[in-house]
């Protein structure tokens, strides 16, 4: 048991090294968190059955929506059920193309944000359900301004994916005035497009 646990801690440490934590004094702080996290939230949490997701888990949804609206300044009426599920699907599809180690980093970041101790470590004291817009804004500011590279790295990676996933949605693109491709080419391109898992 001791050995196993040590191995697990070792794994956690490897991951944190990959996250670029080395030499910043934080490896020690987060490695046990990562390890404990794996005990408590095993990756066996089933993906959402209806969306057929491969990487994103239902506990991640609330975190994604919260970060999405706080980072991109979305109005609550923009986060319709359709926009939500399309964004999650697009994100999940996209994770499939990532380098496995980056994907693992991101997956882990999402898991850590769900786990109270590490959520607080990343700067959010309230639960995701209870956090006010103001708290979320401060949380994000803390991440993008952190003196700790790991926090900026993790947030930046997730944010970019969320931005691209959100603004490739038709209504999001239209909301910022994008009219789609020029009319001259429209008859020649596939217009009906379904986002498939």
């Amino acid at each position: 048991m001791r050995i196993n646990r040590r191995r697990l801690l070792q794994n956690g440490l490897d991951q944190t090294l990959r996250l670029g934590l080395i030499g910043r004094g934080l490896a020690v702080t987060t490695a046990p968190l990562l390890a404990v996290n794996r005990w408590l939230i095993p990756s066996a949490v089933a993906a959402d059955a209806t969306l057929n997701l491969k990487y994103i888990k239902p506990p991640n949804f609330k975190i994604i929506y919260a970060i999405l609206s706080a980072s991109l300044g979305l109005r609550s009426d923009e986060l319709t059920p359709k926009a939500k599920s399309e964004t999650i699907l697009t994100l999940d599809n996209h994770l499939d193309k990532m380098a496995p180690s980056l994907r693992q980093d991101l997956r882990m970041f999402l898991d850590l944000l769900d786990f109270p101790i590490s959520r607080i470590f990343f700067g959010l004291n309230s639960t995701w359900e209870e956090a006010t817009p103001d708290e979320l804004d401060k949380f994000i500011e803390g991440l993008d301004h952190s003196t700790i590279n790991i926090k900026r790295y993790a947030y930046q990676g997730l944010l970019t994916l969320l931005q691209v996933a959100w603004f490739s949605g038709e209504s999001a693109a239209q909301s910022v005035g994008y009219p789609g491709p020029p009319d001259s080419i429209k008859p020649y391109i596939e217009s009906d497009r379904e986002i498939k898992p």
Partner: protein, 543 residues
């Protein structure tokens, strides 16, 4: 309605194209020439070797996606046509790296800007890397041939996004020029980065690769070169993996092996091939990126930066300002503004971000491409292998680079205001929307320049298999030949010992055309007559 797609033509039914996903058992193949990677370097090499009668096998990690499948949806293109679904970043996450992973490589998704290698760069290599034969005069005919071959011509129809650069530069008396593009019958749509749906873009996908296929070249796509094989100090070929889960290995043997997997792919393949000598540890060193920073001008009228040829005006006014090895110089170009792409370049949070995005249709985007590798404080990155063998670039962000980024922001802001911008912001998390040039000047100078605060991107990966005369400081000689393995050649962007200070495709075409002619030997030029401009005199050079 359908537009013609060469890969769906009658002709194409005779081409030898194999999908790696259909291979479920180990296979052995042989050819005269094996080319790994089908981008700018590999596509062109396949064309020339096949014209010289060589039996060529061309392998490509990405899939075969052609014009009829280019639906102009950003997310589909990024996911299917780019390395790591366009999520590739440097090791610390600070620089996003855009590279193609599809037949045609990055040329299938590039923005068509075509520049010859600047004479300052060739002279710097000559003086510092001993590339004596690569003078401006010696390279000129190779560029002329490639310009003919790929219909590279000046593009005068600037869209409003590019025109901001022209107007701003004119108002400030800065030099500017039209960009040359490799297009034929371009519809001026502006979707070059998502795969050209009309085949107007003269990428390798529609030029050299079909020509090579027509001459019997075998193309195997969705096949990943894992390691090179070696016998008695000669490269014998490659061991490649399919990605369909069958575990099948394809072994290809050839007396000439050409590495064209791009400036991350080629050095990492060499590093994975532990038998390949690397006595001075130069493989995968000096990787350059033209790190680029982004600025945005809110104009009084619609810009629609997503429509129209993405790049048509540039300014090199600040590129060599401090001398070749002085302060970091930068090239100024436009950046296309498709919503998902722009959303990742524009920085901010909450309401500030939202307001910036809301102005998309009237926002001009400028990218400033920093010329790295000419100064000791710009040593470039290192290609490293992760445990699973996949590559990553460890690229240090130095104060020298950040100083270039700050000056580049200032120049772009000044150009935008001079062109009539109502407001300007830059690709930094803390950038407010500046309402005047004075405000911007002060604000931009006061921003904190630390990694991950500002968006830095790269679509130009270069180096890692530097050419040079000294094996202690380079990987190949100026003819692309590996210093230790004489039948192994590099034909892609990894050849460059520094960055270029210009978008790379034409430099790659010119160099690779020259290298492949050298390998073939003799004095014949392997291009159709129509591609040979009257002035071309190559006999002495290729002998």
């Amino acid at each position: 309605m359908k537009l013609p797609d060469p890969f769906k033509s009658e002709q194409a039914t005779k081409w030898n194209i194999i999908d790696g996903n259909d291979i479920r058992e180990d296979r052995q193949l042989a050819a005269d020439v094996l080319i790994i990677g089908s981008g700018a370097g590999g596509g062109l090499a396949a064309d020339i070797f096949s014209r010289a009668g060589r039996r060529v096998i061309l392998i490509e990690d990405g899939g075969l996606r052609t014009s009829s499948s280019f639906n102009l949806h950003e997310i589909d293109a990024y996911k299917d046509l780019y390395q790591e679904g366009m999520t590739r970043v440097t090791k610390d996450g600070a620089i996003s790296i855009l590279q193609g992973r599809t037949v045609g490589g990055s040329t299938t998704v590039n923005w068509t800007s075509s520049f010859r290698t600047p004479h300052q760069t060739l002279e710097y290599w000559n003086a510092n890397w001993g590339t004596k034969s690569l003078t401006t005069e010696a390279m000129r005919p190779w560029f002329e041939i490639m310009e003919k071959r790929l219909s590279i011509q000046e593009w005068a129809a600037a869209n409003a996004n590019n025109d901001v650069i022209r107007r701003g530069c004119e108002a400030l008396s800065l030099s500017w020029h039209h960009i040359h593009r490799n297009v034929k019958g371009c519809w001026n749509l502006g979707y070059c980065g998502l795969g050209c749906p009309t085949n107007a873009k003269q990428s390798m996908l529609v030029t050299t690769i079909p020509a090579a296929l027509e001459r019997g070249t075998i193309l195997i796509h969705r096949l990943h070169a894992r390691r090179l094989t070696l016998e008695k100090n000669r490269a014998t070929g490659v061991e490649a993996n399919v990605t369909n889960g069958s575990g099948a290995i394809v072994r290809i043997k050839a007396p000439i092996v050409i590495l064209s997997a791009g400036a991350i792919g080629s050095p990492s393949l060499l590093l994975r091939s532990e038998q390949i000598p690397n006595p001075y540890q130069r493989t995968g060193k000096r990787t350059f990126l033209h790190p680029s920073v982004f600025s945005f001008g809110q104009m009084p009228t619609e810009v629609a930066g997503y429509h129209g040829a993405p790049q048509s005006i540039y300014s090199d006014h600040f590129l060599w300002e401090g001398g070749t090895s002085g302060a970091m110089g930068y090239k100024i170009e436009a950046v296309p503004m498709h919503p998902a792409f722009a959303s990742a370049l524009i920085r901010g949070r909450g309401e500030n971000y939202r307001q910036k995005m809301n102005q998309l249709a009237s926002t001009n985007g400028i990218l400033s491409l920093l010329r790295d590798g000419f100064h000791e404080d710009s040593p470039g990155g290192t290609i490293e292998l992760r445990d699973d063998g996949t590559p990553t670039v460890n690229y240090p962000i130095t104060p020298y680079l950040m100083d270039g980024a700050k000056r580049a922001y200032l120049t772009a802001a000044e150009i935008m205001f001079a062109a009539g911008a109502r407001a300007v912001h830059v690709g930094h998390f803390d950038s407010p929307v500046y309402k005047s040039w004075n405000e911007a000047k002060r604000g931009i100078s006061e921003l904190e320049y630390k990694p991950l605060m500002l968006r830095i991107g790269s679509a130009h990966v270069m180096g890692g298999c530097a050419m040079g005369s000294d094996p202690e400081s380079s990987v190949v000689n100026e003819n692309g030949q590996h210093h230790q393995i004489e039948n192994l050649y590099v034909c892609d962007g990894s050849l460059f010992p520094t960055s270029l200070g210009a978008n790379p495709q034409l430099s790659i075409y010119g160099l690779v055309a020259r290298i492949v002619h050298k390998i073939i030997g003799g004095t014949e030029l392997y291009f159709d007559r129509e591609y040979l401009p009257g002035t071309v005199q190559l006999k002495d050079d290729i002998k």
